[in-house]
Amino acid sequence: MEKILTKNIETENSHRISVYMESGGYEAWKKVLKEMSPEEVTDIVKESGLRGRGGAGFPAGLKWSFVPKVDKPKYLVCNADESEPGTFKDRLLLEKDPHMMLEGIVIASYAIKANTAFVYIRGEFANQTVLLLEAIQEMKEKGLLGKNILSSGYDLEILVTRGAGAYICGEETALLTSLEGKRGYPKIKPPFPAVEGYLRSPTIVNNVETLCCVPHIINNGTDWFKSIGTEKSSGPKLYCVSGHVRNPGVFELPMGVPLKELIFDHAGGILHNRKLKAVIPGGSSTPVLTESEIDINMDFDSVAAAGSMLGSAGIIVMDENTDMVDACYNLSKFYAHETCGQCTPCREGVPWMKTILGRITNGKGRNRDINLLLDICKSIEKRTICPFGDAAVAPVKSYIEKFREEFDYYIEHKKSMIQKNVKSLDAVN
């Protein structure tokens, strides 16, 4: 496939506005300002079928159209808090092509009639923040941002806020509370951010990659965009492949690319020629797939049909040497550490699961622990303020369901069932 989102990343100084503009950058922005009404922009994005790349796959244009016509300021927020384990695509865009994202931001802001946009950037992305601030400065110098942009009468500021290291602040309502200067707690819905978000004003939150698609849709049209990917998941997609593969990295391919093609062609197959055991398809919060379940296409609906989620397309590959009990414990530690602690089921239940899993990997498991774990999952699922609870449950539930014998073995024998396949360790990579 022709590269779209990553077309500039090999070019030297791709983060500079000059490089971006030489390759046609900001043409879409100029076109929008000159020729299009905000409603037209929203309609085109709706028509393109662009779905959110932050995890939930919500149609972007539809979300924009929820902004009510009220006499309040509107805000656009670019979610650059990328922290989902296994996910590192936004980082690439931020580093290599911040202007593509910024062009998406300004167009989206225009569409929802916002005069202030925020980039909420992961705190650990220190260098990326510097690049971003420079890029914003470059835009202003070119008159592409600020007051009365290109004499259109439209004003827009972009403000950058750094996160402080909490995974939960990637969840859009927690992000907004954090942006308001408060503790990063998710909010109960309703109200939804599009109606009452930042400072109780209408606010649209979109992922970096989602916004990066927008200028291309404006430039090339909806038919072009829909010609890429599948009918219900259109456009290009960045897939992050990590784990036991030879060639981990970010790959730009159409929506709906076969998972096997991604792992075995693009990511070079399994390290040391070992056997593949399991794959997490969409970031750590999505249910794991076994070797027999990976014959699927990577679009929102196909992965859902397989009982998991495309999520952030953070694909984590595990080989036959992986101890699934330990892997499960590892993830549960992450979630127990990151729960914001606001609501009862997640605050109490998620760390409880971690403690039990820790006990099992310490050889102190009890027979009833497995059913207890599954029942705690039930106590958390769908009973929380934000989707974090479900996210924390997904690994535990799916690991136990799909690798039950490893858990049972661990409890009975007080050690892992996995005999490391030493032979293949010597195999040539």
């Binding site: 109960i188 309703p190 602690g341 009862t344 089921p345 109490e348 239940g349 403690t355």
Partner: protein
């Protein structure tokens, strides 16, 4: 009006009504922790889940507003919402949430002040399971005093955030916060500064468990030993509505009672511990007559004979030589009887006054609008109305006068100038429950009641007449202030001074005093009744 169905019964509700509150108002028990009607919705405890037809899974009822559906979308052709609060799914959810809330809970009810009125205890009894599946180590944090009024026992905390929201939304000073994250979250003060705002005690009231507890009430008694009585606060002219817990004939604690017109759900800390003002005061048991440097205890008969002799006997009465001074700490009834005496004796206009004089200062107004008045007397408004006065304060001179003064309160009020004025009186009668500084100057002291022993009504500074109930008994041998005044009037030959009960006086006021017309005991009820008076016109007079 939306029509809804909860568990097979129909209810008509106002559009925009909040589901959980609607259920509670209709006597349907929906267990909940984080919801408090005086605070914003947090939705964090997840206890209040219910099933709503047409919505997936369970919904937290505290965050559901009831609206009207278009005709064609009504459920069963007529309902705007159909709710089940007792389905198996709902019950299962409750016991799951409870299990999680109790994981780390010490369940130390035997030593917890909340026991008996604890929502955790109540609900786990009804909805929980008997044994814990949690066999890991519990989370432990030490108890500590957060401020003058409040302690925290963090192990009992369920992180409902009521206390945090209270400080933010009602006080407007976020002194409490959640420290740490996730499983380690703990309620704590900010920046090591004490929780010392003037409303801090309310946090202990609204804490649904025994995590925040009152310093004043700490380990005093078990709540089931308390007999609770309704009255109003005696510590400023706002007149917050109260529930007073009494045991062993003593006040053990004071809590606010909901009155949306006056104090909402709240009260201030001064009022909460104000009952202690009488703790150290030595009670007068019998009337006293001055003798040399001291006083001689006498009987009621003797004292009234003595007074009659000094004032009206032998035609000595000269109305312009008599001054009657009411009290802004006294009830409407007490002050009304004093006015009746003054009228009976045909005292001139100027020979009535009100003690103590105005108290200057600014009201403290909190974010929610809750107010603490600088006037620390509970009934200046009503006393002025009863005595027919516009202003408080003693006359400049009481020289050569026979003076009756109702002290009425339990606070030291004496100032240099009051001392000067009172000293010049010819014959001073002071009615006071203890040997106050005023009483020490008197020729005759009539024992009266302490503040929380009084019965009757008082009028707050916003013209609301409210009921005052004696929550503790006057000691044997001591009469209530209104009784003493009535007998005092009788001794002076005033007619119609005998009443069966204080309520008869209230009802007499409702006939005799202009703006109090119709404000009978019944009308006042438990939440008070506004005077037939334009608010503004009085606002100027009110301090």
């Amino acid at each position: 009006m939306p029509l809804i169905k909860i568990n097979d019964r129909e209810y008509e509700v106002k559009p925009g009504a909040q589901l959980l509150q609607t259920a509670l108002d209709n006597g349907i028990e929906v267990p909940h922790y984080c919801y408090h009607p005086g605070l914003s919705i947090a939705g964090n405890c997840r206890m209040c889940c219910v099933e709503i037809e047409g919505m997936p899974g369970l919904q937290i009822s505290c965050n559901v507003t009831i609206g009207e559906l278009p005709e064609e979308r009504k459920i069963d052709g007529k309902y705007d919402m159909v709710i089940n609060t007792e389905s198996e799914e709902v019950k299962d959810s409750r016991s799951r949430v409870l299990e999680l809330l109790l994981l780390n809970h010490p369940i130390d009810c035997p030593v917890c002040d909340q026991a008996g009125e604890c929502l955790l205890q109540d609900y786990s009894f009804e909805h929980g399971s008997a044994h814990s599946r949690f066999t890991e180590e519990k989370r432990v944090n030490p108890k500590k005093q957060l401020g003058p009024e409040v302690w925290i026992y963090p192990n009992r905390c369920i992180l409902c955030s009521r206390c945090v929201r209270f400080c933010e939304e009602i006080v407007g000073d976020p002194q409490l916060m959640v420290r740490n994250r996730g499983y380690s979250s703990i309620i704590d003060v900010r920046d090591n500064q004490p929780l010392d705002n003037k409303l801090s005690g309310n946090t202990a009231d609204i804490c649904p468990v025994g995590s925040l507890v009152s310093n004043d009430f700490l380990h005093k008694t078990r709540v089931w030993n308390l007999v609770e009585e309704d009255t109003i606060c005696m510590d400023c002219s706002v007149g917050c509505n109260l529930i007073v817990g009494v045991s062993k004939e003593k006040i053990q604690r004071i809590k606010p009672r909901l009155n949306k017109e006056v104090n909402d759900y709240w009260m201030c800390d001064d009022g909460r511990i104000g009952y202690h003002a009488a703790d150290e005061l030595e009670r007068l048991q019998s009337p006293l007559i001055k003798e040399g440097d001291g006083f001689r205890p006498v009987s009621w008969t003797e004292v009234f004979d003595f007074i009659a002799d000094k004032t009206v006997a032998n035609g000595k009465l000269s109305p312009d030589k008599i001054e009657i001074i009411g009290s802004a700490y006294g009830t409407n009834e007490e002050n009304y009887l004093l006015k009746k005496i003054a009228d009976g004796l045909s005292l001139p206009e100027g020979n009535r006054s009100l003690y103590p004089g105005e108290m200057e200062g600014d009201a403290i107004i909190f974010k929610s609008g809750f107010r603490i008045s600088p006037d620390k007397t509970p009934n200046r408004r009503g006393a002025l109305d009863m005595l027919g006065l516009k202003n408080s304060g003693l006359a400049d001179s009481l020289a050569a006068k026979i003076v009756y003064l109702l002290q009425g309160g339990v606070h030291d009020l004496m100032t240099e100038s009051v001392n000067e004025i009172l000293k010049k009186s010819e014959f001073l009668i002071v009615q006071s429950a203890y040997l106050s500084d005023e009483a020490k100057l008197a020729d005759v002291v009539l024992p009266g009641t302490f503040h929380y022993e009084k019965n009757g009504t008082m009028t707050n500074d916003r013209n609301r007449v409210q009921r005052v109930r004696g929550v503790v008994q006057t000691p044997i041998g001591v009469k209530e202030d209104w009784e003493v005044i009535a007998e005092f009037g009788g001794a002076l030959g005033i007619k119609n001074m005998s009443y069966e009960s204080v309520d008869d006086i209230t009802d007499e006021i409702a006939v005799r005093v202009n703006e109090y017309e119709g404000i009978t005991v019944e009308k006042v009820g438990s939440l008070g009744s506004d005077l037939n008076r334009e608010k503004e016109s009085v606002q100027e007079i009110a301090p």
